[in-house]
Amino acid sequence: MDRTTTISWIFLVALTVVTLFLSGIRQNYAALLIMIVAASKFLVVGFQFMELKRAHPFWKFLIVTYVVILTALLSI
């Protein structure tokens, strides 16, 4: 089994569990933290599973820009 892919999967599952704990926080910043974790998972799937890490910088820029803008819009 590919080591990097396996580590990415463990990291993604761990972040999912972290998200659950964050949802228990009753503070205004909790939603922002949850969305930042979701954005991180989004980028791990994009760069590792979808292999965007090997793609042209244009595609990397596009996916990062998308998730940053969306996270900002959803957290305001």
Partner: protein, 193 residues
């Protein structure tokens, strides 16, 4: 173009193919706009959205997230196996990919059944209108993805089949897109309101 000659670093050949990436960004834009609309609707009815959100089963949502991530993990392994040892090696991990995708559909169906029995169906309130529209639209993509994966599995099983490594990579990109969309839907629907 043969797989051996494809350079993913080329602007016109992202992993999975440029056409699929155009589709992926169109899908991401569509879901993104819908999620932003939902968040802004939630600001108009904060109590209703909060109470409706609390009625969703977070455990189901979390388990389904893990199902999709695990399915995506096996899909990524399938692509790597096909690239390193030939397309027929993708057969090793594709059944697990399909299994976890099917588990997602099964658990989502159970969740839908419970919501319908509880009377929280489409039209119940604004929150559940978004919930049903977004999750059902996503589920349709998952089902289409599963059909593609089953087709790819049988394609690579044939000794002289026409399924190429690029086909496997394109189906993987579509499948991972379902992951990406769910990773955005899950926190907004189940956790943040």
């Amino acid at each position: 173009m043969d797989q051996e000659t494809i350079d993913s670093a080329n602007l016109y050949y992202p992993p999975g193919g440029i056409l699929l990436w155009i589709i992926i960004f169109l899908e991401l834009a569509t879901f993104g706009i819908a999620l932003v609309a939902m968040v802004y609707s939630g600001k108009a009815e904060p109590v209703l959205f909060h109470e409706s959100r609390l009625s969703l089963n977070v455990t189901y949502g979390t388990i389904n997230t893990i199902f999709l991530l695990t399915s995506g993990f096996f899909m990524a392994l399938s692509v790597k196996a096909a690239k390193s040892g030939g397309k027929r090696r993708a057969r090793k991990y594709l059944p697990a990919t399909i299994l976890f995708g099917t588990l997602f559909v099964g658990l989502k169906s159970l969740e839908y059944h419970e919501k319908i029995v509880a009377g929280s169906s489409l039209g119940y309130n604004t929150f559940f209108d978004y919930y049903w529209m977004l999750t059902m639209f996503h589920l349709v993509h998952v089902i289409v993805g599963l059909v593609i994966l089953v087709s790819v599995y049988f394609g690579v099983n044939k000794k002289n089949g026409s399924t190429s490594i690029q086909d496997i990579e394109a189906s993987a990109a579509f499948w991972h897109m379902c992951d990406l969309i769910w990773l955005l839907l899950f926190p907004v629907l189940y956790l943040t309101f």
